[in-house]
């Protein structure tokens, strides 16, 4: 059986032209600039950078424009572009305790050193559509209040404060930074996955998938009783040791969101009852994502903490294999590709099965 495999070229070219026109939309409306996307669609840019796994606001804005606002398509574009760049190396680990904090809240402690800094957040809005934003003349230049002084230079992490009582597990680099760090961009997933591999996977994982899984742990599909120990947003310096120098220099600053979840833990044979931790971290301002990530990170630690693995969020193969929206969308959408030959063979199979079925029915009847 032969199937036409050529002939679609002109149709494809014309489809490109059509999508270009549709992307532009009504030409009476001014064209969107990358600067506008970068400045006024910041949270979309942040999501695309985080899941595209590349910190570059301009490229993320371009990807969003090119994808007509389809963020998963934009993430795919960014991932694809990334493969064209050489890697110079790995940064020194960023230090979130030295963050220039713009938002920092804790749901576990009211009065804590550094205080509760609400920062820019939709949490305290009424979720009523604001028609002022729809006004013809626009919003002008809204101005935020500014305090006399800035927030404290260095704000301790809530988890570090709890540590003093020994009631929460400590996070230390057990190997003294001697070992290799797993890297998904260089090696495929392998199981059992270490926490480094899991966190890298979750950091670039799909927000919707992680949100649903995190939610499932709260609803009982995973033993979990979480507190948002701390969420912080702000800028951290990225230090890098160039081969030519041998000492670290700052390359610049990136915005990150960090979430420390604190979870109850009844203890096991090897561990006393104490709080355990789940960690979430993202590029830009992706608060929901980091919270979900922290819940799933904790759930995936089940084996390490001698808990029974019985729910989806605790199953690392299930979670890590299905978290990546570029892979997921590729596999789901490949069903659109021609499967003409496959389908012909399935047709023949069904026909012969049907024939046998009918014959058997007839025999039974006789």
């Amino acid at each position: 059986m032969y199937v036409a495999v050529k002939g679609g070229e002109q149709a494809i070219l014309n489809s490109h032209k059509l999508i270009a026109e549709e992307r532009r939309g009504d030409t009476e409306v001014p064209e969107l600039s990358l600067a506008q996307i970068k400045e006024q669609m910041q949270l979309a840019v942040d999501r695309v950078m985080t899941e595209g796994s590349l910190y570059d606001r301009d490229l993320a804005a371009l990807a969003i424009k090119q994808a007509q606002g389809d963020l998963l398509e934009a993430i795919f574009l960014l991932r694809a572009y990334r493969t064209t760049l050489t890697r110079f190396g790995e940064s020194e680990p960023i230090d979130t305790s030295c963050m220039a904090v713009r938002r920092r809240i804790s749901a576990a402690y009211k009065d804590l050193p550094g205080g509760q800094v609400l920062g820019p957040s939709y949490d305290y809005t009424h979720r009523l559509l604001d028609f002022a934003l729809a006004a013809e003349e626009g919003v002008g230049a809204p101005e935020a209040e500014a305090a006399e002084a800035g927030v404290d230079e260095s704000i301790p992490r809530v988890t570090d404060i709890l540590n003093h009582e020994g009631l929460i597990e400590e996070e230390t680099a057990l190997d003294g930074d001697a070992g290799a760090v797993a890297d998904l961009t260089r090696e495929p997933l392998r199981f059992p996955a270490g926490r480094d591999l899991r966190l890298q996977n979750l950091a670039r994982g799909d927000e919707g998938f992680l949100l649903a899984l995190g939610y499932s742990t709260q609803r009982g599909y995973g033993r979990n009783h979480p507190f948002a120990g701390e969420i912080r947003l702000g800028e951290v310096a990225v230090e890098f040791v160039p081969e030519e120098l041998g000492f670290p220099i700052e390359l610049g600053e990136i915005t990150v969101t960090e979430c420390q979840m604190i979870n109850q833990f009844a203890g096991s044979a090897g561990r006393p009852p104490q709080f355990t931790r789940g960690y979430g971290l993202s590029f830009g301002h992706c608060e929901r994502k980091t919270m979900a990530m922290a819940l799933v990170d904790r759930a995936l630690r089940a084996r390490e903490l001698d808990e029974t693995v019985e729910y989806p969020a605790q199953d690392e193969e299930f979670v890590l294999y299905h978290s990546d929206n570029v892979e997921a969308s590729g596999f789901v959408q490949h069903l659109k590709l021609p499967h003409y030959v496959d389908f012909q063979s399935e047709l023949q199979l069904i026909r012969s099965l049907r024939r046998r079925h009918d014959e058997e029915q007839q025999e039974a009847a006789e």
């Binding site: 050489t86 890697r87 110079f88 190396g89 260089r186 081969e243 030519e244």
Partner: protein
Amino acid sequence: MALATSLNASGGIDTAELRPGLADPVHDSQHIFRGLLTALAHPGRPVTLPGDVAGPEPLDPATTAVALTLLDYDTPLWIDWIADTPPLRAYLKFHCGCPLVERSQDAAFGLVTDPENMPRLALFAQGRDQYPDSSASLLLQVPSLEEGPAVTLKGPGIRETATIRPAGLPDWFWNDWRLNAAQFPLGVDIFFTCGRSVVGLPRSILAEG
């Protein structure tokens, strides 16, 4: 480029001699890469590489060109003792950024300028069943591609047979190559380099000496 002159006038900062890399890194390396593909597609056929670049001693231009094209931050490199000099290390680290490893087994690429004393082929990474591509590629710089004993090649990319005459190889070499070819799809791939020429010898090729 006036690079060489500026380097000679080292002005008292430092006396290290850092030779220039490819004049036009993007396009030169694309041309060289194309040349290497040709060399692997037609095993045994010498390919003259573009991008005449003078690397540090003892590298020939072809060896330097291949190194500058294929090596980067993600390709651990093992170099043999003759090539392993501070200027060469500095050159590769600056231009390629490749990590240098002590054990040949850990390398993605092996750079050999003294084949007579090189490690046995089995001492380089052979690849794994799931990922045969994780085996090593060897750059073997030989004193001549024409004056050694004749070896007949057969396999994909060769219509009937091809003959190569790389000189300076150890006497165990072609026996090791038979063992290498026998474990296909695992095994190392080889580029012989000399002057500005390269000859490809992929693992799929059978050789008779």
